[in-house]
Amino acid sequence: MHMIQVHELTKNYARATAVDHISFEVEKGQIVGFLGPNGAGKTTTMRMLTCFLPPTAGTATVAGFDVLEKPMEVKKRIGYLPETPPLYLEMHAEEYLSFVGKLKGLSGAELAKRIDYVCGRCAIADVRKKLLGKLSKGYRQRVGLAQAIIHNPDVLILDEPTAGLDPKQINETRDFIKSLAGDHTIILSTHILSEVEQTCQQVLIINKGKLVATDSVQNLQNRVRGTESLLVEVAGRNGALDSTAVQHRLGQVGGVSRVLLRESRDNRGIFEIESQKGFLRGDLARAVVESGWDLNELRPTAVSLEEIFLQLTGAEATSAATASRGDRA
């Protein structure tokens, strides 16, 4: 059975379409990553699944219940961690978890048992009696996760669960989320590619409200790894450097698909090289040196989310990606 089924889900705001006819399914016990740049519609989609926002069109069902027709049944089965953990800063951690537990329908001994359990599970036992307002960002996030799983929900929806954490905490959180899979079906959103690689089994890539690709993480990695992007800095030995000549020469190296001039200064030029396969660094270095230039630097560049969009989605996303790159510059 599909734990989550989304069909042609759409959300229009007064001036813009935030989510545009998205359809996908999530199997029970899976971790699915929602990948996309900020403002892509990840949060809106999640809010529709949690019954916080009603969809403009389309349907979404969670555990077989429609979000519009049976919101109470859906809410009982969902644990939700918004981007900023919804904490009452004047409460103690334990008090807060007790309040959320009661909201979700727990009471008495069962509630006490669940509080003990999530405190242990989320490693917050040592701050149980502390005010939430006094906790560090990392602890607040963990309390946020604890409240999401307090009622042992079938589905967990986590909006950027690792945002703002330090690297150690990020790893801990990822491991924790992975350990929850199986019992829970998890959707998490992120704009960090490696997060999806490490935690998720399936990935949904969303951009400008549209689902541009859905794939298993394995396939995504293969597609991304199939190409490599390198940055090469070349300097002329005597005086100025003829950058077009360098570009031409580098383009002749086997496997190179594209050479772009990134920057040119006096006698130096920085080139970005996209190659189809394998390690070309040796070939490139030899080509530069044998042509009588100096090789100042040669390093692989990180594959950015925009580049995956480029590869996965072709023309439409290309313009979108360039636009967003332009915004940033």
Partner: protein, 255 residues
């Protein structure tokens, strides 16, 4: 009902762990004690005066002390209630905790009712101090208790309405200060609006001044339950709760 109780307890707790509740309690106690002193002194001096001049003027604790005190409490409420209601929703919206509430298996109406009852609960706590003053009147005098009870009932009805309206305004913004300022301005407008009919006897002026939130309390202060005035406050409560509910819904459709 269980959910209303959960929200009520949480809100009460929030009031009493923050300084706001204690500030309100202290201020309300101080101001009402101040007026209690003034009216009581006036009453005693009046009594001595009539004795000295040998006249036998009617002395009535209810009319001369309790009624003006209740009337004072009602006006004081206009100043204190915005401070009670401003945080009800604005704070949840600012902290993002509204998302926790609305994604939990609990109905909007339960949230609204729980919050309103908690605000009313805090006000009842505030009323305990003037009520404490009244204890002395009963100990050393013999006022009629019925107008007192009815007066407090009227006060609760009035405050219930004001709290509901204030709560609605709190749903409109993330900013508590804006919520308080808007609420206070509206209350003052609804307070002074009764003056319209003082200079104008046309039927529209009567209708406008009917919306004043203070004048409807007068029968209660005299110990009478006028169904017209009770209905006025009850519909104000209903309107405030209803608008809060609708505003919560529109929060989702609009944001």
């Amino acid at each position: 009902m269980r959910n209303v109780w959960i929200i009520f307890r949480k809100e009460m707790r929030t009031y009493f762990v923050s300084p706001i509740a204690y500030f309100l309690l202290a201020m309300f106690a101080l101001v009402s004690a101040f007026f209690f002193g003034i009216y009581l002194r006036g009453f005693i001096e009046y009594g001595m005066e009539t004795q000295m001049t040998g006249q036998t003027a009617p002395m009535n604790l209810n009319e001369q002390v309790i009624r003006p005190l209740l009337s004072n409490a009602s006006v004081l409420g206009l100043f204190f209630i915005p401070m009670i209601t401003m945080r009800l929703f604005a704070e949840e919206k600012r902290n993002g905790t509204i998302e926790l509430l609305t994604t939990s298996p609990i109905r909007d109406v339960e949230i609204v009712l729980g919050k309103w009852l908690a605000a009313l609960g805090l006000y009842v706590c505030m009323l305990l101090f003037p009520a404490l003053n009244f204890v002395f009147l009963f100990k050393y005098g013999n006022p009629d208790w019925k107008p007192v009870v009815i007066g407090f009932l009227g006060l609760l009805l009035q405050v219930g309405g004001l709290l509901a309206i204030g709560m609605f305004i709190s749903t409109l913004t993330k900013n508590q200060i804006i919520a308080a300022a808007l609420t206070f301005s509206l209350f003052v407008a609804l307070w002074v609006i009764s003056a319209v009919s003082e200079f104008n006897t046309a039927s529209w002026a009567q209708a406008v001044s009917y919306t004043s939130i203070v004048t409807h309390l007068e029968p209660f202060e005299r110990g009478m339950i006028d169904s017209k005035d009770a209905v006025f406050y009850l519909s104000m409560i209903f309107l405030g709760l209803f608008l809060s509910l609708r505003s919560m819904e529109s929060l989702r459709w609009g944001s």
